[in-house]
Symmetry: C2
Subunit: 229 residues, 2 copies
Amino acid sequence: MMIRQLFDLETSTYTYLVADPVAGVAALIDPVREQVDRDLQLLRELGLTLTHVLETHVHADHVTAAGTLREKTGATTYASGAGAPCVDVHLRHGDTVQVGAITITARATPGHTDDSMSFSVPGAVFTGDALLIRGCGRTDFQNGNAAQLYESITQVLFALPDDTLVYPGHDYRGRLVSTIGEERRFNPRLAGKSREEFVAIMDQLGLPPPKYIDIAVPANRGCGVTPTA
Amino acid sequence: MMIRQLFDLETSTYTYLVADPVAGVAALIDPVREQVDRDLQLLRELGLTLTHVLETHVHADHVTAAGTLREKTGATTYASGAGAPCVDVHLRHGDTVQVGAITITARATPGHTDDSMSFSVPGAVFTGDALLIRGCGRTDFQNGNAAQLYESITQVLFALPDDTLVYPGHDYRGRLVSTIGEERRFNPRLAGKSREEFVAIMDQLGLPPPKYIDIAVPANRGCGVTPTA
């Protein structure tokens, strides 16, 4: 299994290439529209065919490349059933996606948004904006729910082995990867915190609205190519 | 062996933590002064003692954290003999540095600057600004020399196995890692190019001077704490 992490500097978004180099097939998780050329070039150079595009949720801070990549490569697009209506396949908790010899397992982790899903492979989990490095996604829009996020992180993600690599959807301080064990022990919003304490922390964040939410959410419900209401 | 890649968003600089978690010791390669708190927190949380700080060269685009880290942790600082006079140990091509069970080998790769060194561990090489992803460091200041850089890349770095991970000093397009095989085949300045063609490419880049060179180079010759002439 090959995992390549990619970064969009404008929005601090991580995209992940997960590939079976022997079978010559690849999935992209959370690709960014402005990076389509970069990502297609990398796939070409690595001799990989893009077969799957997975979205962890309907993003509010950048526009997905899912629709463009589907048009250009024929890849199948995936998201939660509560997610973008435009995707080809809506996943439920526990569903698996097969990329060559790699089994990707969908794990519903709502709370940042109601459609948030994490995707796990042996030894690693792609957490979108549910669990970030020493942080987590905000819960004050898109049907976010702090109590639900607490359950998603502590019951679903923290149930994974401690040495599981955590690949988040963003980081704003230049950290690229963490582990479940690190986040269980050192995430300041979660380590030793009850659900009530977590909810209180999230309720007091007082963050400004995301700059691009009014553009990004409708665009992403249309896979970045067909804005929908 | 644990490798953690870290990113400074302001200067697009990569810092690398290379650790032996069993022995509880770590090296930092090319730490950035503005990220000292982040990096010390990570070391603390991972239960690692910083024993070594390695500089790939005297940087022109950011100020090193080497001196500050030495003061705060007692770590020993390393660079090329042609590099910053402030470091504790000047390395020559082929010298090794032992971090717990990990042997780091110094490989002189001058050309971007006359003091440029790459550092290799089994399966990976930290190339500083000698070899970048699908590019290379510029050669028009600090005794840079394009012909010399061509030799460093093609004779020293490309002599490593094709599957060796290439961890560069920077990337400006959100790419984090490459391999020797990829760069041999797809680096547009080097793949299929003669030394003369490479020198011609480098001579025609016409880049503006780095914004911080007049501050960064003297600061870095003093390990980021004592500016020197």
